[in-house]
């Protein structure tokens, strides 16, 4: 039987991949690794076996700061009543085109 207690659960890293040049990076998953270099190599092997990306970011999971689901209401509340931030709020007289094409 294996004594797994001897093993170390290496730090957790979150992996972000840029699918194509110019595109935003996207979270694709996570992995355990001893350090940044190790994490980057594993991320390449695990998350880009089929040319899924042209660049990879890895971030120690503990350094990610996230909003909490409990506060979702009040946290995003300031945007709720500001419909005037959307272009559809405005009435434009007929016969003119103000949209940039």
């Amino acid at each position: 039987m294996t004594d797994t207690n001897q093993d170390t659960q290496w730090p957790l890293w979150e992996v972000f991949v840029q699918p194509k040049s110019g595109r935003p990076y996207q979270h694709v998953g996570s992995l355990h690794a001893t350090d940044a270099e190790h994490a980057l190599q594993n991320a390449r092997d695990v998350y880009s076996r089929r040319q899924e990306g042209v660049a990879i970011w890895i971030v120690p999971a503990e350094h990610i700061v996230a909003s909490t689901p409990e506060d979702v209401g009040p946290f995003f509340d300031p945007a709720n009543d500001k419909v005037y931030r959307h272009p559809t709020f405005y009435k434009i007289p007929k016969g003119v085109n103000v949209d940039v094409h």
Binding site: D7, V28, G29, D35, H38
Partner: protein
């Protein structure tokens, strides 16, 4: 009182088709059920490497060796996606692996059957991965976000597994009499175990009701099994192969292939650990883990050395 309100909100969210994320409130039973299911799924990917790894060196051409290697690599990757997804619910991967290695955790019963001939590599890709795909495509609809996202990746990658398997079978069926017999023999041995992969009938499944209500599973075992059978029977017939089921018949009205009685005693017997390969699979998995220890130790030592240089 608070919990009842939360439970109602939780159910409403699921009914509205929203996904549950790691930090969201969830009932303990939802968390437990998901960890069990995702870890079983992960273990199946990892143990699933063994029957095929067995054939990498004996594959009949360089092309087939490359394919088999790539497929086994994918399965290691799929295991990792699933362990990562399971970890988001607070159970460390070490714990999950310890449960696999001690025999406490289950994996798909299909991997407790032996891979006797090259045709079995075809049957595994065609039938076992085919059945897994039907299940996994459905699981994209699971209510748990990280599980669903892992399924999207896995399904995208796994399509080739299924196709390469059918290609092997097709090649054998176009070959000599002996090769055709080999293909038929593999189908005879893998058909019923593949059908059993979907688990017991919903009416006998201990987890089905709650799992469906919470959309842990998006579809019941019976409907997925039927989908697989109706999809696969014509693929067999197209190659001149016979499905080993005397009761198999096409229902013109429902457009489904109806099938005979599944031997669930065999299924439960294999799950209990009495399949042909249970002991060997578990021993091989433990050996692989133990023999890989030096790699983990080396990575640790290298990391420590690098850190001491910086300091």
């Amino acid at each position: 009182m608070e919990d009842i309100k939360r439970l109602e909100e939780f159910q409403a969210k699921i009914d509205a088709g929203e996904k549950i994320e790691p930090k969201d409130w969830m009932p303990d039973a939802y968390r437990k059920n998901l960890v069990r299911m995702m870890s079983q799924h992960a273990h199946s990917e990892i143990v699933g490497m063994l029957p095929e790894g067995n054939w990498i060196q004996r594959a009949p051409s360089l092309r087939r060796k490359l394919i088999a290697t790539a497929k086994v690599q994918d399965e290691a990757g799929h295991g990792l996606y699933l362990y990562s997804a399971a970890e988001t619910l607070g159970t460390p991967r070490e714990q999950l692996l310890a449960d696999l290695h001690s025999g406490k955790a289950k994996y798909s019963s299909i991997f407790n059957y032996p891979t006797l001939t090259w045709a079995d590599m075809g049957a595994i890709g065609w039938l076992v991965d085919g059945a897994a795909m039907v299940n996994q495509v459905s699981l994209i609809g699971t209510s748990y976000g990280p599980y669903s996202r892992a399924m999207v990746r896995i399904c995208r990658e796994e399509a080739f597994h299924n196709r390469q398997g059918y290609e092997i079978i097709a090649e054998l069926c176009a070959g000599t009499e002996e090769q055709k017999e080999m293909a038929q023999d593999a189908l005879n041995r893998w058909w019923w175990p593949a059908i059993m992969m979907f688990g017991p009938s919903d009416k006998d499944s201990t987890h089905s009701d709650q799992s469906l209500k919470w959309k842990i599973k998006a579809e019941g075992n019976d409907s997925l099994r039927q989908k697989f059978i109706t999809m696969t029977v014509p693929q067999a017939h197209a190659r001149g192969l016979t499905i080993p089921d005397e009761d198999l018949k096409y229902n013109e009205e429902t457009k489904q292939w109806e099938f005979g009685e599944v031997d669930w005693d065999e299924f439960f017997n294999v799950i209990k650990g009495n399949g042909i390969m249970n002991k060997k699979r578990l021993a091989d998995r433990n050996a692989a883990h133990d023999n890989g220890k030096w790699v983990r130790d080396a990575a640790d030592a290298y990391n420590k050395k690098k850190k001491s240089k910086v300091a």
